[in-house]
Amino acid sequence: MKQILLVTDGCSNVGMSPVVAAAHAKSEGIAVNVVGILDYGDVGELGASEIEEIARAGGGLSRLVNMRQLSQTVQMMTRKTAVQTIQLAVQKELKQVLGNGSIEALPPEKRSEVVRVIDELGETSKLQVALLIDASASMKPKLRAVEEAIHDLMLSLQARQGQSEIAVFHFPSSKHGEDCKLDLDWTDNLKGISSIFTKFPMSGTTPTGPAMMQVIDFYRQGDYGKKSRNDETDGMMSDYVV
C-alpha cells in the first residue's frame, strides 16, 4: 500500500495543477491524502476546495484541521485510507463472484467474513507513506506541530504487524531544478531524530503539483531499484538451476 500525505495551508501557485498530479499518483497506485491546516487565518474557500479536489483525484481523504488535531487526524487518515485501499482490492476480487461488488450490499453474515479479511490484510500488508509538507512562509510557525504529527504517525505505524515505512519531503526546495527536498528517506524508526526539518528556503512559492510529481518519481525509482535487484537475484537463481 502506497500513500502520499500532503500537509498544506493554502493554494498552490506554481507549475502543474496539484489535482492533475494527484490523479497521476492514483494511476500509479498511490493514494493521496490531504490535510489543510487552519490556524492563523483561513485557508480560504479556494484553498479548501483545492484540498478537497486533490484528495478526490488522488483517491484519498481530505480534512481541514487545527494544529491541535493534526496528529490524530494524520494517524486516522492513514489508517482509513489503508483500509480503503485493501477494500477496493477485495471489492475488485468480489466483483467476479457477486456481480455488483459492493461490500455494503452483502448480508451482515457475509460482510463479516469479508471485513475479517480486510482487517487482517490492513494490519499485515506493507505500508509506505510519503509525507509531503508545504514549508512555504505561511506554514513555518506550524512546522513543529507537523513534526510532532510525523513522530506520532510513526508510533502508530510501528504498532502494525506489517512492515511500515515513512519518508518526508518538504517544498519548495532551495536547490535549483528541484521541486521538493527529501528530508528523510524511507525509514521505520524515528528514534534519535529530534528535528526532521533543518534548513528552510525563504521562497514564498507553493509548487504543490510539481512537488507531488517528484514524490511519485521517488516512489517509481524505489520500485525500479527493487525490481532490478529482484531480477538480479532471479538471474543468480537461474544460474544455479542451470
Binding site: R63, Q69, M77, V83, Q87, V115, I118, S156, Q161
Partner: protein, 305 residues
Amino acid sequence: MTTSFKLNLRRGAVVTGKWKHSRYRVERLLGEGANGKVYLVHADRGWCALKVGIDAIDLQSEINVLQALEKQDRKQTYLYEVDDLLGEDGKEYPFYIMRYVRGVTISDFLDKNGPEWFPLIGLNLLGKLAELHRRGWVFGDLKIDNVLVADYGYVELVDYGGVTAMGKGIRQFTEIYDRGFWNAGTRSADARYDLFSFAMLCIMLHEPKKLHALTGGLPQIRSTEELERLIGECKGLAPVAGWLRQALGGQFFDASEGAEAWRRLLHRRDTRVKSAKTPGWLKGLAAVSAVVLGISVYWLLRSGI
C-alpha cells in the same frame, strides 16, 4: 477527528431492519462514539441500545470483535442483532443491537455519591479489564466516557470500538489516555496499555484541569515524570499514588495483577483500622461468650433427647 455524520434518528421513529425485519422504536440518543451514534430503543425484548455506523466496514469490524468476544464468553450477550436501516436521506446505514447498560459516568457517580466510592469502582473496573485480558483482548479506548457506573459501584465498559487482539495495533484511542502520546511506550495492544489508560483515567477524575494543562506542552517534554509529579500533588490520589506510578511504568503484567495490588492496598488500610479498634478485653469477652454458647447448646441437646 470527528467525521460529519448526518443521520439523526428522531424520538418515536420506528427503525426496521432490512434483512431481519425486526422493528425498533427510538427513544433517545445515548451517546456518540468515534464511528457511530448509540440510541436507546424499544424492541419486543424490551429496552436495547442501537448503534448505527457511518461506514459499513468500520462498524462490521467492531461487530466482528463483539462476535469473537461472545464466542469466548457464553455468560454475556454482547450482540442481539446486526442489520441495515434506511436513513431519511435514502442511504443505507449499518447498525447493531446490544444490551442497554443503565448507568452514569464515574465522575457523575462520585459527585452524587461521594469520593469514598472511588476505590471500589476502580477495583470493579480493573476486574472488567482483567476479564478481557484473560481472553487475549485489550480494551484500547479506556476513558471516562466509556465506563458506566450503576448502583453500588457496579461497572460496565461501553463502546467496544477500540477493543484489539493482543499484539495488534490499538484500533481506536484518545490522545490524553494514550501511552504513546505521553512518550511512555508503543501503541501495540498489550495489557499494560489498558493499565496506563486506567491510571490516566484516575488522574482525569481528580485533576482534569491540571492534566489538560500538561497536554499543551511540547511533545518532547511530555513524559510520565510530569504525570507522577501531578499525582504527588493530588491529595485524593495519595492512597493509590504508588499503584498509579507502577501502572504508568508498565510494571503490572495485566489487569488481574493490577487488581490484586489495588485490592491489597485497600485491604491493608481496612485491617489497620480494624486491629486498632479491637481491644484485648473484647477478644476475651468473645471467647467467654463462645464457651457459654457451647455449654448451653450441650444442655439444650441433653434435655431435648
